[in-house]
Symmetry: C2
Subunit: 649 residues, 2 copies
Amino acid sequence: MLDNMFNKNKVDYELDKIGINNLRGLTIDMIQKANSGHPGICLGAAGIVYVLFKRHLILDLEDDKFLNRDRFILSAGHGAPLLYGLLYLMGSLTLNDLKKLRKINSKTPGHPEYLKTPFVEISTGPLGQGVGSSVGFSIAEAYLNKLTNGVIDHYTYVLCGDGELEEGITYEALSLAGTLNLNKLIVLYDSNNVTLDNKLEVTSHEDIVKRFESIGFLILEANDNPIEIDEALKKAKNSLKPSIILFKTTIGLYSKNAGTNLVHGKPLDEDDIFQIKEKLGLYNSAFNVNQDVLEDFRENIKTRFKEYKKVFNKNILKEKDNEIVKRLINSELTYNLNNLDINYNHKSLRDLSGEILNKIANDFPLLIGGSADLSSSCKTNLENIEIFSANNYLGRNIYFGIREHAMASILNGLALSGLRPFGSTFLTFSDYMKPSIRLTALMNLPVLYIFTHDSFTVGEDGPTHHPIEQLLSLELIPNLKVYRPYDLNELIGAYQEIFKQTNPSVLVLPRDNKDISEKTKIDCIKLGIYLVQDTKEEKYINLIANGEELGLALKVSDNLKSLGIFTKVYSAVCLKNADLKTINNLKKDLTIGITFGVPDYFYKITDKVIGLNEFSLSGSKEELLEYFGFIVEDIESKILEIINQENSY
Amino acid sequence: MLDNMFNKNKVDYELDKIGINNLRGLTIDMIQKANSGHPGICLGAAGIVYVLFKRHLILDLEDDKFLNRDRFILSAGHGAPLLYGLLYLMGSLTLNDLKKLRKINSKTPGHPEYLKTPFVEISTGPLGQGVGSSVGFSIAEAYLNKLTNGVIDHYTYVLCGDGELEEGITYEALSLAGTLNLNKLIVLYDSNNVTLDNKLEVTSHEDIVKRFESIGFLILEANDNPIEIDEALKKAKNSLKPSIILFKTTIGLYSKNAGTNLVHGKPLDEDDIFQIKEKLGLYNSAFNVNQDVLEDFRENIKTRFKEYKKVFNKNILKEKDNEIVKRLINSELTYNLNNLDINYNHKSLRDLSGEILNKIANDFPLLIGGSADLSSSCKTNLENIEIFSANNYLGRNIYFGIREHAMASILNGLALSGLRPFGSTFLTFSDYMKPSIRLTALMNLPVLYIFTHDSFTVGEDGPTHHPIEQLLSLELIPNLKVYRPYDLNELIGAYQEIFKQTNPSVLVLPRDNKDISEKTKIDCIKLGIYLVQDTKEEKYINLIANGEELGLALKVSDNLKSLGIFTKVYSAVCLKNADLKTINNLKKDLTIGITFGVPDYFYKITDKVIGLNEFSLSGSKEELLEYFGFIVEDIESKILEIINQENSY
């Protein structure tokens, strides 16, 4: 009996081997046709993904958004042709799609792009980002698993190479995965010991087994053949800890340059392709897949899913009144904040932000998030909600540790899983997260970043803690909406806008400003720039500012009146929301921007800006305001100077 | 005899204990006086640094720049009062300085700042940066050690806390330190198991011993008493591998909140200070140090250095003709490139850059650097020079691995050691390095970043590999000079400027542009913006661009002439070099900027910009140029449109 099974399996695996070689053939055909791409990983890692897809993944070939699908993340995004080849075998892409690899507006871009291709769960390419986000997918699964009484219970597989394990973000994220014991996370490590520039040993002598033991992973090893791959995947799925499988592969297998960096990132030459094709049993053919392979591959996935779906349908029925399930199925990611009752009570803006965030969290179970160890400073702790931990996957306070970069990539994974995540740190440390924030924006995900301590008014901590250029740096990222409210009104308005929409958003708050104004307006935030203080005089200048500086602008405006200079004061609470007409109107008048950061922040509107074009200093807020000329009298004289210059033009 | 020694030592260590408590007292006095700061680490880690300074560091109290001093890096920069307290004991700061902690323009800013305080080797504060740079200090030492026949042979000590070991940059950098076997690097790990938000166990279950075993470190453990601290330091100094000492400490020792996060980052209350002072034996006194302690501490450092100096003076004499030693002593960091003989020969700009870099390297031994695994793409490999490796510290090609962030922080350490370092990757991945680049700029270090693949003209790799906003993001950083040459002339000029000065610099290059022009000028780079193509007509418009776009602007200019529209074409090869007069002159005319990135890049000069305000796509360079309207005809019609709008104003 056992013998028979073994024989059956062996025969079966023989077909896998043909299929894997067919997949290899497809990838090099694609790359040759595109005359651009990375053959090394495609030839090396084909076996891993082929066996994973054929024998393990729960995927609905008819619905790439099936709620409980297993997630496969190609963190080594340059291996995109592998994924596209599999998608052809699955019937989700055509041969014609494959032939358009790396062509503009095709379904097969150079690196996988979210929403452009079925079953692409996330845009990848910048190394380490997929690994980081895979931890977010796993956290989401663990949370939703608890909330749905086990109905959501998928695995998250992430394929990465040597290079990615050198990136800091993967250490950060996987250390957290170990701490949280996310046992449905399975890292597929394509261990070929070669990076772009050289052999891995030139840059790393790491003992990978010890490294992953140190963070609580199960470590499995397998050679690159279907039987071992399959066995390792089975073991990983049964693991009570997160797992990593070290697949010993050969980069550019079968190429004359196999095992070297020469085969990493350029198309192969014709001779090489010819002899590889021969070895693959694909003599003289291109874009050709064995029909048995195709049917076997597709049938395996279909049959497995059909079986699975029966159970799932029964289970989900029990959860039909589960609000979370309904929201997930309908992608209901917005939340209406119209009836917010927040008492100002002389609290700082970040404290008030914490109160609003808490109110939302108490009523909106898709909200989940945390801080890179600054929740007590950024006021983002959810007070009545537990900590997400290995012992409590129902918690929604995620303690990311001092891992800003991993935090942002994890937020991406949470958002891609249908949740509405937030994360917080100081504005100056947004630098640590930039690569992941960029991906949030590129994928247009509903992630909310809360960055407090937003200028030198932080005070004593000094220039390393004082953002100068970060506000504009974030503003420059396409799709990302940066809100910088001045007081409670604008804060409420910003939160309303953020949760009314599903854009990537940044909320920027000062350390301790407690200003409140009767002139600011909750419902003007959507305008981006709006008039806070008007004048009826015919001759006037405009002042524009946001955040803490708006208070300064209002004071300056009052003082200038006594000198017979009249001003309109604008709040630039969200520059990206402003329309061209508003901006052009401001340009027609003399408009002066006031900002505690680089003056370039307002150059979109005016080149008359009172800003700070140098690194700041350590000192008290009051000392610094005076030193850098941000007290009312200094601003006034600078404005008078600008007015004089303009008149003398 | 042994007994006697032991007794003597014991007595001696008793004085250490008093000294350590005096240091603790100083730090809480400083923090109380400043009413701002971090008492937790100061109370917890005082013993480590006290014993290190008193019993181990080779420091010349009369010359904080002594060439071969041991380097102490307070990576946990929030522990600054500890360092300032030690500097008072050393006689390098006064009590008055200590009383000005965190006051503006004092010698005692909130976090250590390079050049503001004696013996502060590096600005720290953003977590992990000091650890990253410590690897740079160690690489520099290893290299200089070989070059000076062992005369340079100092240790690099870096103090860090739990939080820093969570940061990706420390994993990256220390993994490289292990690979390079930098055995004079000693990590002092203040292991108190508490972070700002919570207990460490909430965010990390790492087995630190295994973690450091996996990267080839010697791991030592010690409790927080002077005898054990001293013993551990002795062992670490004798290690043949890089080492880490796990000091088991208590955050906020003696405070009523000792061992909790409550004592991390706020001044203590009066009651607490009172009872702490009692425990420290400092009842009712402030800013008070026992005279025996002071003399003992200072004498120990002096005597040790005096002994050491005798040997050193003898050894350095042998190296008096060593060019490196002379350069190091005189801080000769500039290099004259006036006689560069580079043959254009239809090579791409990055290839030409590689040739220039190689010419410099062959003649200028302070130049050292490498790439985050993209030396073959960025063309930054030094061809006739060996790889820096555990077996060859004479190499100057550093293979950083895919560790962009660590690379940048290591470059900072190399520069702070008197070398002239460079590092390379793709421009889009400069995001990974931003926190360290900011510190390069804050400290004004002579680091050269070479970022290639500078726009969507990279082509098929797609939007994750196409920088859009990075060029301006870098430009916004104070002190940092960003050069974006168009052709060989401008490239040579840029290299000349960079090596004539010691500013932090960024050289931005395209993937494959091979343009060459007779109109560009080598010696105009220092102007920042200069006229490349003039017109004698009275009525004209200005076009401004840099890099690859300048070629487009020149073509457009020629075409427009046939329509009777005359143009002056400016190269903005280094915006930061441009003076206000040039910018203001451009503003007086109609000036149109052309950039492949966010239009904001040119808003400093004009709001008429033809740019790209969205993420790009995967496709060939030609497809993308056409799709995004960057072919000559499209640019022309956009310019005509702008001219029409202007006229109708």
